[in-house]
Subunit: 233 residues, 2 copies
């Protein structure tokens, strides 16, 4: 016997929920679908899993094709498998959520793939079960970022504490106390203060910080407790 008999084979795809932060709002990268059905409508970036690929590898490939980026934070989210989720043919989708530094994103690719960043509050109608995927990704981001140092992935290598704070405020849609926030963040010892300042947002300028990569990798799972009352999920 070389095959499993009498079982149905089906298509397997991956879809990526790609988050970015432009300094003010949290955004999702969407593409206009290139193939029928629903050609031209907005969707998450996805693609079929190839014969020699795991889903993880497929996600990395698709992400690189769309954004030009490698080494991006990418995590398996959930597998969607409703038999009717794709009206053309049964397709199972393994979803991933990705956190990228929006400034590293290569704008030229937008044209090539008809991609666009959307603020979370202005997401267009998406195809299939993509709204559900998006919702789940948001929930997971909020859940996980409340406990783990994750949101750094959305910032440039050098960032300021006010930038970090506004990112958190944006993700949780609530204000944070500057002093408590600073204290908590610094108490994790994940950040290293730099000598130079970012003068983009103020006259005084705010010191840059970098992640202490050794600490970061060791403490990826450290509990942060940045959020006073952690979100549920």
């Amino acid at each position: 016997m070389t095959k499993y008999q009498h079982q149905t084979r089906l298509l397997a795809a991956i879809d990526c929920i790609i988050f970015g932060f432009d300094g003010t709002t949290l955004k999702l990268l969407l593409v206009q679908r290139a193939i029928q059905p629903e050609k031209g409508r907005w969707s998450l970036m996805g693609g079929f899993i190839q014969p020699d690929e795991s889903a993880d590898i497929a996600a990395v490939r698709v992400l690189k094709k769309l954004t030009g980026l490698e080494g991006v934070y990418l995590e398996q989210l959930h597998t969607f498998s409703d038999p009717k989720r794709d009206p053309i043919e049964r397709t199972l989708s393994v979803t991933y959520f990705a956190l990228i530094d929006i400034h590293r994103y290569e704008q030229q690719l937008s044209d090539e793939y008809h991609a666009e960043w959307f603020t979370l509050t202005e997401i267009p109608q998406l195809i299939f079960d993509h709204p559900e995927m998006m919702y789940m990704a948001q929930e997971k981001l909020r859940y996980k970022a409340a406990l783990h140092p994750l949101l750094f992935e959305l910032l440039p290598k050098k960032f300021t504490l006010p930038q970090l704070q506004s990112l958190y405020e944006c993700v949780y849609d609530m204000p944070f106390d500057k002093r408590n926030f600073t204290r908590k963040v610094l108490s994790t010892k994940l950040l290293v203060k730099q000598k130079d300042k970012d003068k983009g947002n103020s006259k005084k300028g705010a010191f840059f910080y970098k992640l202490d990569n050794k600490q970061y990798k060791a403490n990826l799972h450290a509990f942060l407790n940045i959020i006073p009352n952690p979100p549920i999920g």
Copy 2:
């Protein structure tokens, strides 16, 4: 166009990591594989996703077939998709972890499916990537149970605080202070004290408690903080 052209179809299966608690140790339900290859070796319970089924439905079906149980706690864990994970033919597996009250398990099914409960420390060699699945399920159980009221799913409807405590001690492999444990658990308001006692383990007897179902469903996501230093993952 009625089909996606030039894409490979593949088999899709589900596998269940089934946890049970016998009052003393945490156990996994394993089966002896009924089909080639690896027939007769121990594996997680699984099955192929049928044409009219989502993965969730398939998991429920498989779980009912093996344990006779319905309404069991079942949660999607991770999708394993290495192209070579099954040597016969490429098969993607969506894994689920299940928490069941071991006493509701119908023993007769053990014979029918060659199933057996194994203590976590005495797991036999498993096929394919099932060890990895098992490991991931354990990690997730520990992670999630530290934050959410989850372990109740492993106990009978009526249980005592000492029983609950020994379950936690077993999952986290550490002792807990009885007084602090009791206080924390009761402070969640999830438990309702019953009038009767369990005299199985002591002469004095320990009061039974039941979950307050309304509270439980509303607070499924409540943070428990039963574990002093939450586990990482």
